[in-house]
């Protein structure tokens, strides 16, 4: 799998890899389907409800029923929209969400690419989704959508910088932007220990980038109806939602690669359990973590949101860089 990357490509290998990538797409779609189910179940339990339990045993087929419903619902285009942008927006919002998986190595044996700038590629491509959201919100010609989209953009650009600066600490530790090399640098101790401030900043900024509670202002259903996708119906709406959930897993994988040693076991004694299992456990843990917050935190106000990013997280991220530089020069880490 990974060895294929280092030898000249044959047609058979290309076909094999393309099939594997198609398989990954299906795995991601499956994970998203059940993430929605688990989210609803968890929220239900945390609020003393049962959650979905009608369709299939324990409600296991609920999301599948929902998808089928969305597939067969009328998806009309409102009369006053900017048609080309309106049609393009869900694709622009979704495509980067899957493309970022290209640079995420899953274990030491399974990786779909090995480029030197993996982390930068992830950050760059992931921010393209904002463009899709702005396109959709603006093209809808609806005041709610426009407010939602503008909030989304303001929020994403505000939290992008703390996110990128926090990851910089990890890059300094590893001396590489390649995610495989970053994992390899965590053999002795996971980055979450020496980079704890960076991890906190990264986690909070990541929640904002994912539009999850307490930063779900873009869709704030109680004030903006649904924000940028209020004019979307049927499967076009579904793809905006899908993009959001796919990012949940991409970000979960990225957090475990950057701060929790990816496929490395917590202790060498546990290395008999394959790396893929560790990677999956860590990724799922961080993908489901936002659901817990969703039941716990109220939504922040838009002015608090911006102030917190620029005056709170940003200086903290800079302090983290200076601290890492000082500790590295002093030879502590």
């Amino acid at each position: 799998m990974r060895d294929w990357l280092y030898e000249p490509l044959t047609l058979g290998r290309f076909a094999g890899m393309a099939l594997l990538i198609f398989g990954l797409l299906n795995v991601v779609l499956f994970l998203v389907t059940y993430a929605i189910y688990i989210q609803r179940k968890l929220l239900g339990w945390m609020q003393s409800r049962v959650g979905p339990n009608r369709v299939g045993p324990y409600g296991l087929l609920q999301t599948i029923a929902d998808v089928l419903k969305l597939l067969t619902k009328e998806s009309f285009i409102p009369s006053h929209v900017d048609r080309p942008l309106f049609l393009l927006a869900p694709i622009v919002a979704f495509a980067p969400a899957f493309v970022v998986f290209a640079v995420l190595p899953l274990t030491d044996r399974i990786a779909f690419s090995d480029i030197g700038v993996g982390l930068l590629f992830y950050i760059g491509v992931a921010s393209l989704s904002t463009l899709g959201i702005l396109m959709g919100g603006w093209a809808s010609n609806n005041k709610w959508s426009l407010i939602g989209a503008m909030r989304a953009v303001a929020m994403m650009i505000a939290y992008e910088i703390p996110l990128v600066l926090a990851a910089l600490g990890v890059v300094m530790q590893a001396g590489s932007l390649n995610l495989t090399a970053i994992v390899a640098s965590q053999e002795t101790v996971w980055n979450v220990v020496p980079q704890f401030i960076g991890f906190l900043v990264f986690l909070i900024a990541a929640l904002a980038e994912l539009n999850r509670t307490p930063f779900d202002l873009t869709e704030a259903e109680s004030e903006l109806i649904a924000g940028y996708h209020v004019e979307y119906s049927g499967f076009r709406f579904a793809f905006f939602m899908l993009a959001e959930y796919v990012y949940l897993f991409a970000m979960g994988a990225l957090i475990s690669l950057l701060y929790f040693g990816g496929w490395l076991p917590p202790h060498p004694a546990l290395s008999f359990i394959p790396g893929g299992v560790w990677m999956a456990l860590k990724t799922l843990l961080f993908a489901y973590f936002p659901f817990w917050l969703q039941a716990t935190f109220p939504r922040v106000r838009v002015d608090q949101l911006m102030t917190f990013a620029w005056k709170g997280l940003m200086p903290l991220a800079l302090v983290n860089i200076v601290l890492t530089a000082a500790l590295k020069t002093a030879g502590v880490v």
């Binding site: 409102p78 006053h80 090995d114 990128v164 579904a238």
Partner: protein, 124 residues
């Protein structure tokens, strides 16, 4: 050169990812077009504004505050991008890198403090 091979192969596979990522929505929309009903009438196409008659267009001039933040973002993003290569080779450069980046970070922080004092970071 194994590195060059890995690079070419990686780009090819990233292209496969991109093709699949675009193909999935296109296929899904086509499928949904074949399956879903089509009953369109004028009222249905009206802009949704909580049930009232929509007032004017939404393509209006927007509050300028957003553009200030956008300008700040461009500034800091470019500076952050400059920090990345520095972080990668940090170990190999020694004290020179520390001193140079101290100057650079000072400018970055100075700009942030300036914007802070000017009240740009307040959202009113």
């Amino acid at each position: 050169m194994p590195a060059a091979v890995a690079y070419t192969n990686s780009l090819i596979f990233i292209a496969v990812f991109l093709v699949l990522a675009v193909a999935l929505p296109v296929v899904a929309f086509t499928m949904s077009r074949l399956l879903r009903p089509h009953h369109f009438y004028r009222e249905k196409g009206e802009t949704y504004e909580s049930g009232t008659q929509p007032l004017g267009t939404s393509w209006v001039r927007f509050r300028v505050k957003y553009y200030l933040f956008a300008l700040l973002f461009v500034l800091f993003d470019v500076e952050t991008l400059f920090l990345y290569p520095w972080a990668v080779v940090y170990d190999r450069l020694g004290w020179f890198a520390v001193a140079e980046m101290a100057v650079f970070l000072f400018l970055l922080v100075f700009g942030l403090v300036y914007a802070w004092r000017k009240g740009v970071l307040e959202w009113k």
